[in-house]
């Protein structure tokens, strides 16, 4: 079995890994057979409904729950008066204050839409009705509602995010060509098709939580710590997830409320966060602003980048949306300085949304690069190639693999870039202005250990078992492919069980790292299972292979036989029967020897402390992409429609082109929404999200999405992962918004530096 052999990407003749398999869970999902967390049938269930604050800052003075408690079916109303008996849990890295009480329904209000009470009733309707009867009195203070609030200030410099080399200020001042501009991105939200919520049940001190989860083990740890019970007492069940995009990797305050209510009431509780409530029940992408200065020679050689950015965070916690995340990586530049500030405002703590940091960072940098191209009068493709980074200037390390030059050249060729006329407003299609733009993207390779169990059963079928999750990206499918390839069986013969914290440990489905991590574990466990099976076949007294004299066997197409075709050939079922085994089980993880004890497992599966960054070793490892976008602008109305996209990706080896392409397209579609539509509107008077529903928070419809051609130009990168892949899930959105903004400038001569590009900015 030669899994390490390089295969041409996307070729239908590919083998198991690299083949275009459809999603194994697709039929279940499309036929309604997949049970989601809020559909879990649980007997004796009661319903919790949240009450959210209607002020942005201040204090709950009193909660009058009298009417609510008296309403039909109401079992209990939880308010800031109630001590739910919880303790603060660890952060992502496993750091935890000792015995600090956790009040998920706080008295202090720090943002509009903060959960401050919850009503539990026999039915959802009763709880919803009673929640409206809860009367809250506040003592209000003046909120800071956003980056532009006069009281927001400049924010606090985050030292650890400062990057620099050379003397950027001096080199900028001395440069022939200088550009400077400020770019802004608004609050953006995940709006997954499956809204958030959970069903929770206690049996004694054992807690089962059905909740969509990008990280079953991490969330199990959180619940265990909240309730001060052993981690093994908590089971997070999340076999199917209707999209996460970063929003389902942790337990939120409402999760704690639901679980605490269930414990107090002694009944299972379901809490469904309504769509409007999701806009403040957890954080979306923080609003950002960034100023970029670029100095270059007259012939387009970069001399300096000076980058100053800021993002908002909450007054409760720091979550930097790192505006400088992509800046040091994309181009060769001898002098660079980036800094990032955090501005606390009265918002829910922002969170990770597809390519956090890289996304707004690339919007700034890739817009600025094209601004420079016009300042110099040079084709923006040529400018990018001229400043191609042959190594990582930040770390000084060589790239592991970087096919960005290929992405740019292949993308340009397929797109037809050479037919572009550089002058703005110089291309038309009838009445409409046509514009072409480029945006490059990058996303780091993050590495983490994971664990998997392989079972070969008596009937020859194979089970892959892991607590890793599939939120639509295709984990089920690629793990079946991986096991099938190692074990020489058809993929249909492999069953994959995922999404349960009681199963072997796995890292978070975030940072585009799960596929690399979990395929490595499955590959290792499956190899061990294959070796064990072959060992038994050669040595078991009842095995027909025992006397063949062979010193190894091969498994292919579900049959085990002697190499070169001499001797017996058995199906796996026949062999298992012959040797009298009903199962072979191997559990393996990818932790290093010597660091593979229980504490290492806990640290690796339930925290992010052991995750290795892109430059942890001798190399610098990243995924790359180049987007080529065509827009058509109806100048009468200022309306922009994206009419064509060609994007070329270097994500290393692609395990399943059909699924990878789907993720890339999904990222590009999200990027189109970000560029043209999406914006959380915050009423400055109340710090309240006004468009907190899918009628007013616009995401693209089918009619907004043109043909999107995606191309893989990657080569296997075995430094990045066991099977040679790099991250696929997030890089696709990075660079889309600037490509569109650049195309809009090319079409109209108008540079829009604050997203989204709505029509009034163009008329």
């Amino acid at each position: 079995m030669t899994i390490m052999e390089t295969r041409k990407h996307g070729d239908a003749a590919d083998g198991m890994v690299g083949g275009r398999f459809s999603r194994l869970d697709g039929k279940l999902k499309t036929t309604g057979g997949a049970t989601y967390a809020l559909e879990q049938p649980v007997k004796n269930l009661v319903h919790a409904v949240l009450v959210q604050s209607t002020i942005a800052a201040g204090r709950v003075v009193a909660v009058d729950a009298g009417k609510a408690k008296a309403a039909p079916g109401v079992l209990s109303v939880f308010t800031p008066e109630d001590d739910l008996g919880l303790l603060v849990a660890s952060d992502w890295f496993g750091n935890r204050p000792d015995n600090q009480p956790f009040h998920p329904l706080p008295r202090e209000v720090s943002f509009n839409g903060q959960a401050i009470a919850a009503v539990v009733a026999e039915t959802l309707e009763q709880a919803t009705e009673a929640a409206k009867l809860v009367k809250v009195s506040y003592e209000e203070t003046q909120p800071v509602t956003g980056l532009d609030d006069p009281n927001a200030g400049e924010g606090r410099l985050v030292d650890m995010l400062s990057v620099g080399w050379g003397d950027a200020e001096a080199a900028y001042a001395a440069a022939d060509i200088r550009i400077e501009a400020e770019y802004r991105t608004p609050r953006e939200y995940h709006v997954p098709i499956e809204p958030h919520g959970l069903t929770v049940k206690w049996e004694g001190d054992f807690l089962t939580v059905w909740e969509p989860s990008q990280w079953t083990h991490g969330m199990a740890r959180t619940y265990a710590e909240w309730f001060n019970i052993p981690a093994d007492n908590v089971r997070i069940v999340s076999p199917f997830i209707g999209g996460g995009f970063g929003s389902k990797a942790m337990g939120y305050t409402y999760s704690a409320v639901a679980a605490a209510a269930a414990r107090k009431l002694g009944r299972p509780v379901k809490l469904a966060v309504t769509r409007p409530q999701t806009f403040t029940a957890y954080g979306g992408r923080a609003a950002t602003r960034q100023t970029i200065r670029i100095g270059a020679t007259k012939d387009g050689v970069l001399q300096a980048i000076v980058h100053r950015g800021a993002s908002e965070t909450s007054v409760l916690a720091d979550f930097p949306e790192q505006t400088g995340a992509a800046t040091p990586l994309l181009y060769a530049v001898p002098n660079l300085s980036t800094q990032h500030r955090l501005v606390p405002v009265n918002t829910v703590t922002p969170g990770a949304l597809r390519a956090p940091g890289k996304n707004p960072s690339a919007f700034g940098l890739e817009s600025a690069i094209e601004e420079l191209s016009y300042a110099i009068g040079m084709d923006p493709l040529e400018l990018r190639l001229r400043n191609y980074a042959d190594h990582d200037y930040q770390s000084g390390k060589p790239w592991s693999t970087r096919q960005l030059r290929e992405a740019l050249t292949v993308g340009a060729e397929v797109f037809g870039w050479s037919k572009r006329s550089h002058e703005p407003r110089s291309m038309r299609d009838g009445r409409q202005l046509v514009g072409w733009g480029i945006g490059c993207g990058t996303f780091p390779v993050l590495k983490a250990a994971s664990e998997a169990l392989i079972r070969i059963l008596g009937d020859g079928s194979v089970e892959v078992v892991s607590g890793a999750i599939d939120m639509g990206q295709g984990t089920y499918t690629i793990l079946a492919q991986t096991a099938a390839e190692v074990l020489g069986v058809p993929a249909e013969q492999v069953d994959v069980k995922l999404g349960d914290s009681s199963l072997p440990g796995a890292t978070v489905a975030g940072g585009s790292m799960l596929a690399g991590a979990i395929t490595g574990a499955v590959h290792k466990a499956a190899t061990a299972a294959r070796d064990e099976l072959i060992g038994l076949a050669l040595n078991d007294s009842n095995s027909p292979f025992r006397d063949t004299g062979a010193n190894t066997l091969v498994i292919a197409d579900g049959r085990i036989s002697v190499p070169r075709g001499e001797g017996p050939s058995l199906t796996l079922a026949e062999l298992m029967s012959a040797i009298g085994r009903d199962r072979i089980e191997t559990q393996r993880n990818t932790l290093p020897e010597g660091a593979n004890g229980p504490e290492d497992h806990k640290r690796s599966w339930t925290t992010m402390a052991n995750i290795e960054g892109p430059t942890a070793g001798d190399l610098s490892m990243h995924s790359w992409c180049a987007h080529f976008v065509e827009v058509k602008v109806d100048e009468d109305f200022g309306t922009v429609r994206v009419s064509r996209v060609v994007s070329a990706f270097d994500c290393g080896r692609i395990y399943n082109p059909k699924l990878a392409e789907s993720q890339w397209r999904g990222g590009i579609i999200m990027g189109i929404g970000q560029a043209l539509l999406e914006e959380g509107l915050i009423d400055e008077r109340f710090g309240r999200v006004i468009n907190n529903n899918m009628g007013d928070y616009l995401v693209p419809t089918n009619a907004d999405i043109p043909h999107i051609q995606v191309i893989s130009v990657g080569i296997p990168d075995h430094d990045a992962s066991v099977l040679g892949g790099k991250g696929v899930g997030e890089v696709g959105i990075v660079g889309v918004a600037p490509a569109i903004a650049n195309a809009v400038f090319h079409a109209t001569g108008k540079r829009v530096r604050d997203l989204p590009i709505t029509l009034e900015k163009l008329i």
Binding site: E129, R641, R685, A703
Partner: protein, 316 residues
């Protein structure tokens, strides 16, 4: 959602009578707007009278050569009707520019005329809104007003009417036929049907309590180029920032009604008289009294541009 009782009316008269006997009752047809509003408790009827089975689902020619559209004709069926497509193309196009296929399959003609504003403050029950809670104040004034009205507004309300269909009906001089609880009937010109907000923005039409729409009548066809142009943020499934419904004759005269700018379909006959002088002239009269906010000032410009595009298309 509040508890409510429900009955399925068997005839027009029975429905009207049932409504007359209960001031807390509402008619329900497609429910595409009402049910959402009930879930949010913005509408809290104690009784629903289902009017889906009272025979108002026909489209028939009138004696004078016009068209009578039953109140319960679905938007999809109306848009696809052969006579509508041939003689009242504006109506068909306006309908198809609105909502989604699924919603149009359910939404009724009368319900479309009665759909309520999409002002986000109307929907957010934690915020004051004179339309939702008379006298509580208008949050949109001084708040987010990009989507809001630029003309015909009041100190009490700057909401818009979100209907695409109503713009076409206004340009086509439709007449709304109704029945009251006492069995009396009346015909209301569409121009008089929707009200400006004034100081009673919660009263959106001239319908009296319990009065039911039975049909919308279109006068005989007037020919001309019939164009509906809707400008919106995304390509589909979004309300108009500005829309223009127009019937332009070959001599340059015509009718124009504008959506997305007012509490009702906005049509000014004096502006139409300026049409032969060009879109700019017509737009100036049409929006002469506009009082936009900082955030929706662009709509004034957008109306002129949209109108110009429509006039140009009609000439082309």
């Amino acid at each position: 959602m509040r508890a409510f009782t429900y009955e399925r009316a068997s005839s027009v008269e029975a429905a009207a009578k049932a409504a007359a006997s209960n001031p807390e009752a509402k008619f329900i047809a497609g429910g595409t707007n009402l049910l959402d509003l009930m879930k949010l408790e913005i509408e809290t009827p104690t009784h629903l009278i289902d009017v889906n089975d009272i025979g108002l689902d026909k489209i028939e020619p009138t004696q004078d050569g016009g068209l009578r559209i039953g109140a319960l004709v679905r938007n999809t069926d109306l848009a696809a009707h052969e006579t509508v497509r041939r003689d009242y193309g504006l109506l068909s196009r306006a309908l198809l520019a609105g909502a989604s296929g699924q919603l149009r399959n359910k939404a009724s003609t009368a319900g479309n005329l009665l759909q309520r504003t999409r002002c986000p403050y109307f929907y957010d029950t934690n915020q004051p809104c004179n339309k939702r809670q008379p006298g509580s104040g208008c949050s949109a004034i001084g708040g987010f007003s990009r989507q809001h009205a630029v003309i015909g507004t009041s100190e009490a309300c700057i909401a818009t009417n979100p209907s695409d269909m109503a713009i076409a009906m206004r340009a086509l001089d439709a007449v709304v036929e109704t029945v009251k609880g006492d069995g009396s009937r009346r015909a209301i010109p569409i121009a008089d049907f929707h009200r400006l907000p004034g100081d009673t923005p919660h009263i959106e039409t001239v319908l009296e309590p319990g009065e039911m729409i039975t049909a919308v009548v279109l006068p005989p066809p007037i020919g001309g180029r019939q164009i509906y142009r809707k400008v919106r943020d995304r390509a589909s499934y979004a309300f108009a920032l500005v829309s223009v419904g127009a019937v332009i004759q070959s001599n340059g005269t015509g009718r124009i009604a504008v959506g997305g700018v007012a509490h009702k379909p906005w049509r000014v006959e004096a502006a139409e008289a300026e049409l032969p002088n060009g879109a700019r002239a017509a737009a100036h009269v049409l929006l002469a009294d506009a009082r936009p906010t900082e955030e929706n000032r662009f709509k004034v410009e957008l109306v002129e541009r949209t109108l110009a595009a429509v006039v140009s298309e009609a000439r082309g």
